[in-house]
Structures are given as structure tokens and as C-alpha cells.
């Protein structure tokens, strides 16, 4: 199905998220949509999928004007979208989700749905077991399920918004193969990403948005990477990431920030047994492994948000095995979760209010003027695009992340960061790491989990690899390559690096 977009405009208050966008996507191709965070990619896709209503302009499908006033209408017209966070019912099984979110004309009965699901699974090499409760599926499997559901509904234009975030390498391979097969069948795929290599790998054309406008329309791939970066980021461009300076050597006598003695930590079915390690001051520790291999358990253990089943945990040499989260905070440990809006910041509150909440010395009465001044300072220092009185929920992802960093106490000695740059563009990500490396230089130990090898290799001093409920010893980063890391995550040669021989 050909898609033509003519002068599409969408504003939010004073923000022109999409400004007279005109693009056209030919059937049977994978079209990349590139742009930094906040460029308007997601808005455009949501307009197509009926989750948002356009202010003006029109969309033609195979030359016919299409009415896309809600998701069902878009679906009926043949346009379906796989969201960054799959929208599904966690309490239902995969099959039930597949069935109940589809129109009856597509899947008349549960039996038909089961048959169709099995068939699609086979066709694309997907691994969704029909009766598995949704909560037990990985992010990648939920995405596969959603793609299959849309196909079962007869979608001719498939939109994927940052589909490779949070899925494994194998799932990514399967996804890309499936997308290629779909276009071979005549489907149109719109692939939204900010990852240049993926777009280069997959797409026949690429279109680039910046600040709500089209700055590059249907450019045939391949394109020089530098050219694309320039279009995405304007004159600021994106110079190659600087190789970080080596970690300042910590004095041997210094007390490590964290010491773990034979710790076992468990949550639900997932456990990390018998962990003994010591994390020195002033270093960056990267945690890698397949999604959900226990990295988050360790982060939350170190933050005091999850207590170990067995073993002892020392923080700056003090036993904190059973201490509450607040004791960890008081000792300078901070935890930055992956999902900012869920448990990172309070979306409806402003930066000023957050600064009031986190200020350590305060009396009974709040001093708003003082906090406002602090907020203005933080905004300038961290280059946050907001006023002191903007609710954080209305900031873009990168700005929210910077705001979280701005809220860190100056006395922070241990920082636990889950996915520091997930779904951030290159420039934002680099700015975040600049801040983090400053912290490291001041003696803070940073432990972070990431799925991005480049990030892990570029910024870590030490690496911990998680595989099948086991954890490697601390591996010095300079000796590591992406290829080796990929092997380890997949379990190849893991025994050699496993802590005390297994």
C-alpha cells in the first residue's frame, strides 16, 4: 500500500510537533524515519495510526484520502502501529491478547486465532507460546505478538516505533528477517529509529525529521553516515564519541563503595546466587547480559531497594544488609530507574518542586524563591529545555534524564543507573555521559545496566556479564571487544570468566 502524506500539521499548545509534513512511502519497501528525540517522529506515526488527530493536511492510502480518526479506523484502513511500549493486557495469555484486541471479522473464534497465531509464529520464526501469560513474555516476544496481531488484522502498512529497544540480538535478527519477508509480500514498513546502523542495515529509503519539519525526504539508502547525522542534528552535528580517559587509579587502601559477601538475591523466579565482589571508588561498572538476566536485581540490591536472601552487604565498610533504602540514600547512594515516569520523577511536579523535595537541609516552611533560583542554575548547568515551573512530564526524554541527573546530590558516592541513555539520541546520550564521567572524576562509583554494547564498551572501566543466573567476575573493559562481549552474553566461553569457577 502506498502512503502519501500531504502538509500534515499537529500542534500541542504552542509546540508545532509536526509542521506541514509531506512524505510519500512506496509499497513493498522498508522506509526509515530518522530524527533526534523530540523531532516529531512519534507524533507523525501516531497520526497515521489514529492515536492522534491531525490539525490539518491529509493522508492518502493508495491514492485515496483516508480517514484515520481513531486506531480502529486506521486499522480498518490498513495501518497498524507497534508501540515502543507494547499496549497489552498483562493478565491475559498471549493468545487472549491476540484474540481480544482484533476485530471479529479478522479472527472469528478463539480456535481460529490459535491456528493463525501458530501459523504466523512458524512463518516468521517467532517464539510466542499461545498459552503463556503475557507477564512472562519478554519485551521482544510481546512485540512479536503485536506484529502478528496487526498482520492478522490485515494491516498493509506496519509502523514500528523504536522496535529494537529492549529486545535481544536474536530477536532483532528475527525481527529484521520478518520485516524483509513482509515487504517482499508487498507490505509497507515504516521503521522509526534513531539508530543509524539499523536503518542502514534494513531500509530502502530514509526520511529525516528535525524540529517537526522534514529535512530529508525519501533519500535512497545507502547515504553517508556523516550526512545523515548532519541532517538529524543540524550544524551541531555529531562528532565521533571521544574515547574516555582511563579510570584514575584508586588508592589500594581506600574502602570500596560496595562489598558483597556471598550474596544471594531473588525476586520471583529470577535469582542471582552467591555473589562476592567489591566495587572500588571512582569507577564505572557496566552490567551486560540478555534482557532480564539479573542486572536489575543487582542494581536494586546495591540501592537498598531489594534485600538479599543470604550473605552480607557492606557500604563504605558498614554492614547495610538489612538497612532500609533511606539509609543507603543517607550514605550517598542514588538509584536512577529506567522508566523515568514510573518511578524516576514525579511527572506532574516541576523541577523547582523536585529540588525542594530532594534538598537535604530544610525547615518546616518551603522557600520557593530559593528553590527557583537553584532550578534556574540547574537548567543552565545541565542544559535542560524547561522553565523552573514546567512539569517534568512535558519534557522530552533527554531533558527528563538530565533533570534526574540535576537532582543528584553533590555528595553522591554511588550511582546506580538503569539504562542511562535508552531511547535518547546520540547528542543527548553523550551529554548524559559527560555528566556521569564528571561524577566519576569526583570519586563517584557508577554502576549501570545497558543493552548497548557501544555504550558499555565506551564508558565502562569494569564489566560484569550476566548469563543464565550467573555473573562473571569483574572484567577490565579495555581488554574487551564487542565480539567477545556478544559471545559471553550468549554463554560462549562463559565458564572462563565466571566468578570462582562457577
Amino acid at each position: 500500500m502506498d502512503v502519501q502524506i500531504r502538509n500534515l500539521t499537529k500542534t500541542f499548545g504552542s509546540l508545532r510537533a509536526n509542521d506541514a509534513i509531506s512524505l510519500s512511502f512506496a509499497a513493498g519497501n522498508i522506509h526509515g524515519i530518522l530524527g533526534e528525540n523530540g523531532a516529531g517522529k512519534s507524533t507523525l506515526m501516531k497520526l497515521l495510526a489514529g492515536f492522534l488527530q491531525r490539525d490539518s493536511g491529509e493522508v492518502l492510502l493508495d491514492g485515496q484520502p483516508a480517514s484515520l480518526h481513531n486506531p480502529a479506523a486506521s486499522l480498518a484502513a490498513g495501518v497498524g502501529m507497534v508501540h515502543q511500549d507494547p499496549m497489552d493486557v498483562p493478565a491475559f495469555s498471549a493468545l487472549e491478547n491476540f484474540f481480544c484486541a482484533s476485530p471479529r471479522s479478522a479472527l472469528p473464534s478463539l480456535a481460529v486465532a490459535r491456528q493463525r497465531l501458530t501459523q504466523l509464529n512458524q512463518q516468521f520464526g517467532f517464539t510466542v507460546a499461545p498459552d503463556q501469560p503475557l507477564a512472562r513474555l519478554t519485551v521482544g516476544q510481546r512485540q512479536q505478538l503485536e506484529i502478528m496481531r496487526l498482520l492478522a488484522c490485515g494491516v498493509k502498512v506496519l509502523i514500528l516505533d523504536e522496535p529494537t529497544t529492549g529486545i535481544t540480538a536474536a530477536q532483532k535478527t528475527a525481527l529484521f528477517a520478518a520485516l524483509r519477508r513482509l515487504t517482499a509480500q508487498g507490505e509497507t514498513v515504516l521503521f522509526v529509529s534513531h539508530k543509524l546502523d539499523e536503518v542502514a542495515d534494513l531500509c530502502q529509503t530514509v526520511s529525516i525529521l528535525r524540529s517537526g519539519r522534514v529535512v530529508g525526504a525519501q533519500l535512497p539508502m545507502p547515504q553517508p553516515q556523516a550526512e545523515l547525522l548532519k541532517l538529524m542534528f543540524g550544524q551541531a552535528g555529531a562528532p565521533a564519541p571521544p574515547r574516555q580517559a582511563a579510570a584514575p587509579p584508586a588508592p589500594a587502601s581506600a574502602v570500596p563503595v560496595w562489598q558483597l559477601h556471598q550474596i544471594t538475591v531473588r525476586e520471583g523466579a529470577l535469582s542471582v546466587p552467591n555473589l562476592t565482589l567489591s566495587l572500588p571508588r571512582g569507577c564505572v561498572v557496566g552490567l551486560c547480559g540478555l534482557d532480564g538476566s539479573g542486572q536489575q536485581l543487582l542494581l536494586r540490591l546495591l540501592a537498598g531497594r531489594l534485600h538479599p536472601e543470604r550473605g552480607r552487604l557492606l557500604l563504605h565498610g558498614t554492614d547495610v544488609t538489612r538497612a532500609p533504602y533511606r539509609a543507603f540514600r543517607a550514605a550517598g547512594v542514588e538509584y536512577l530507574p529506567a522508566d523515568r515516569m514510573h518511578d524516576g520523577v514525579i511527572g506532574a511536579m516541576t523541577l523547582t518542586e523536585h529540588l525542594l523535595l530532594t534538598s537535604e537541609q530544610h525547615g518546616l516552611i518551603i522557600n520557593r524563591a530559593d528553590a527557583r533560583t537553584q532550578a534556574e542554575t540547574a537548567i543552565a548547568a545541565y542544559n535542560i529545555k524547561a522553565t523552573p515551573d514546567t512539569p517534568l512530564v512535558s519534557l522530552s526524554g533527554g531533558n527528563q534524564q538530565r533533570a534526574m541527573l540535576a537532582l543528584l546530590s553533590a555528595e553522591c558516592t554511588g550511582l546506580l543507573f538503569d539504562q542511562p541513555t535508552r531511547s535518547l539520541d546520540v547528542v543527548s546520550a553523550r551529554a548524559i555521559w559527560q555528566r556521569l564521567l564528571h561524577r566519576r572524576a569526583a570519586g563517584t562509583t557508577i554502576v549501570f545496566a545497558s543493552a548497548d554494547f557501544d555504550e558499555l564498551l565506551a564508558y565502562s572501566d569494569l564489566l560484569l556479564v550476566f548469563f543464565a543466573g550467573r555473573v562473571s567476575r569483574l572484567l577490565p573493559c579495555p581488554t574487551m571487544t564487542a565480539a567477545r562481549l556478544a559471545e559471553l552474553i550468549g554463554g560462549v566461553g562463559f565458564a572462563e570468566v565466571a566468578a570462582h569457577g562457577g
Binding site: G13, G344, V345, N383
Partner: protein, 361 residues
């Protein structure tokens, strides 16, 4: 938005007058909302009134003016507004903490029951001291009852709505037991409640009208304290943070669960105070329906004002005036006075609709 020409790596297309427009928008929204609320409410209640064969204009006139007819009705209005205000202030606290304290009725009731204890045990103390004791006992009773909700919610994860509703039943059960059991009148157990207190123990009223000035004074102080706490103190800010996002507030170092507890305790104390006033200033006895639904009415008030403390007072007065004004309806127009309840409920419903409309736009 930031008009600082600082080191913005990426220019964002934000026109200059954005700040001005940002100011203008809420005013426009406010007008739309007010239109929806008032228009919708009038339409709905007019239909109800027409369906019952009454002149809507006449009914509205009576409801709106009925409470302001003479000093006596104004006194009644104030005496109803006082406990309503206390409960609304309390609920503003719990709403800010993201809690639905539907147990407020029970908290009023237990406040009233505990206020009776010093009045029954120590009737010979000087009245001012007894009043102080009764009010304190009421506040403590309401607070303890509210904390039960908190314990159920935080320790066993029972939703505070169900915990509160359950405790309401228990509180009413306790009252009925006392009124028909240990505290009954000599030889007679009656729905009209316990033996009335000696007149010396009633909160003093102005001559000729049923207005005990102490009641509105206490209510206004309670209201003021809540407003100050929520808008000017760290404690209030932390309560709001816990209410908006418990997990994030905890992460940011706010003792969020403690704040939930404290907001419930504060609300319970204010509700208990209202219960004590019902005893000392209104009914002068413990009656089975001592709360008179004031807690639920306060829920409507707070739903309408969206826990914005500034609006609590006028809306509480408005709601109380509906209740007082509507007494005339059966007498003058032959329609049931519960139309006041319809009016109150419809107002809140349309306020929520308006909010929903605004949320979409």
C-alpha cells in the same frame, strides 16, 4: 519557556509569545469548564424538576435563597458548613496524597463517640475544659480510626476505599450498640439517641439562633492549617509528591508511606473534630446517624474543587446552602428535598466531565 540563548545543542521551535499564550490558555479552559459544569448541571436538574412537574425557576430560587432568608437559616447554614468544612479540609489532605478516604464517615462517627466519653464520665468539670477534652478526644478518635485504614492499606494492601467503607459499617455498628446498649436512655433505647447533654455542656450559642460561634471558628482554623500545610510546608509538598507518584517520591528520598499515614491521620483528626462538633454544637447527644452523611458530602466538595484548598470554603458554603435551602421545597412546591442531593451530585459529575473534556483537548 527558556529564552536563554545558552548552549542549546538543538534549537527548539518555540515562538516567543509562548509564555503569554500559556497564561491565556488556562483562562480559556476555565471558561469552557465553567460553561460545561453550570450548563450541564442546570440542564440535568431542570429535566429532573420538569419530570416531577415543578417549576424549575421557582425551585432554584428556593434552593439558592432559602438558606439566606433570615438570621435563623443563616445560622443553620453556618452550623452545617462548619463540620463540612473540616471534613473537606481533611479530604483535601488525603486527596493530595492520592488516597480515597471513603472511611471519613466512620471517622466522624468515632470522633463523635469518643467526644461523648469525657462528657459522660466527667460531667462535673468546668464546661470549657470539657469542651476541650471532648474536642481532643474526638480528634484522637477520628485519627485512630483513619490510621486503621492506613494500617490495612500499607500492611495488608487492602485498598483504602474498601477498608474505609468496611470501617464505616463497624463505626455505625459501634454507635448503634452504644445508643441501644450501654448508653441508652433510662429504660428506653431509641433511634433519637442518647439522653441529651445538660444544656450547660452545649457549646454556647448566640441569642435566639442555633449558631455556636466556636464551631465555624474551629472549622476555619482547621481549613487554614490544611491550606498552609499543603501549599507552604515541606510536609505538604511531600504529601503531594507521595500522592502523585509513590515510587518516585520514595526514590527521591521522601518518606512516602509515612506521609500517606500522616495524611490519613490528619484527615481523621479533622473528621473526628467534626464529629465532636456534631455532639457539642448540633445534636447535643449521640444519635445513630451522627455523621448525617457530611463525610460523603465533603467528598463531593473535594471532588469538585480538585483538592485546591482555596475553593473549598465557597463550595462547602454552596453545598450546605443547597441542603438548608431545599428544606423549603416539600412545603412550598411539594417536591422532595432530595433534589438538593441531585444538584450537588450533578455538579460534581459535570465537573468531572469538564475535566475529562479538558484532558482530551
Amino acid at each position: 519557556m527558556a529564552d536563554k540563548p545558552t548552549t542549546e545543542a538543538v534549537p527548539e521551535a518555540l515562538p516567543a509569545p509562548a509564555a503569554l499564550r500559556a497564561l491565556a490558555l488556562p483562562a480559556a479552559h476555565l471558561l469552557t469548564s465553567a460553561g460545561i459544569i453550570i450548563g450541564g448541571t442546570l440542564l440535568f436538574t431542570t429535566l429532573v424538576l420538569l419530570a416531577s412537574g415543578t417549576s424549575p425557576l421557582e425551585a432554584y430560587r428556593l434552593i439558592l435563597s432559602g438558606a439566606f432568608r433570615n438570621p435563623r437559616t443563616i445560622a443553620d447554614l453556618i452550623m452545617l458548613t462548619a463540620p463540612l468544612l473540616l471534613c473537606s479540609a481533611g479530604l483535601t489532605l488525603t486527596f493530595s496524597a492520592g488516597l480515597y478516604n471513603l472511611g471519613i464517615e466512620g471517622q466522624i462517627v468515632i470522633g463523635a463517640v469518643l467526644a461523648m466519653v469525657p462528657l459522660r464520665l466527667l460531667p462535673d468539670l468546668p464546661p470549657p475544659m470539657l469542651w476541650l477534652l471532648a474536642l481532643s478526644a474526638g480528634a484522637i478518635g477520628g485519627m485512630l480510626w483513619a490510621l486503621l485504614v492506613g494500617v490495612l492499606r500499607l500492611s495488608t494492601n487492602v485498598n483504602e476505599i474498601f477498608a474505609g467503607l468496611g470501617l464505616n459499617f463497624i463505626a455505625i455498628g459501634i454507635t448503634l450498640y452504644l445508643v441501644f446498649g450501654p448508653w441508652k436512655r433510662p429504660g428506653v433505647a431509641s433511634m433519637s439517641g442518647t439522653e441529651p447533654l445538660p444544656e450547660a455542656l452545649w457549646l454556647p450559642t448566640l441569642a435566639g439562633i442555633r449558631l455556636a460561634p466556636l464551631a465555624p471558628i474551629i472549622a476555619l482554623i482547621g481549613m487554614g492549617v490544611v491550606w498552609f500545610a499543603l501549599t507552604r510546608t515541606h510536609w505538604g509538598l511531600e504529601i503531594r509528591a507521595a500522592g502523585l507518584n509513590l515510587a518516585a517520591a520514595e526514590r527521591l528520598g521522601v518518606p512516602a508511606h509515612a506521609r500517606l499515614f500522616q495524611s490519613l491521620a490528619g484527615c481523621g483528626a479533622l473528621a473526628g473534630l467534626a464529629g465532636a462538633l456534631q455532639i457539642l454544637a448540633v445534636y447535643h447527644a449521640l444519635i445513630p446517624n451522627i455523621s448525617s452523611g457530611i463525610g460523603f458530602l465533603a467528598l463531593l466538595v473535594v471532588l469538585l474543587v480538585r483538592s485546591n484548598p482555596v475553593w473549598v470554603l465557597p463550595v462547602a458554603i454552596l453545598f450546605a446552602s443547597f441542603s438548608i435551602g431545599s428544606i423549603q421545597l416539600p412545603l412550598q412546591l411539594g417536591i422532595d428535598s432530595s433534589i438538593a442531593g441531585v444538584l450537588q451530585g450533578t455538579l460534581v459529575l459535570f465537573a468531572l466531565i469538564a475535566q475529562g473534556v479538558r484532558g482530551r483537548g
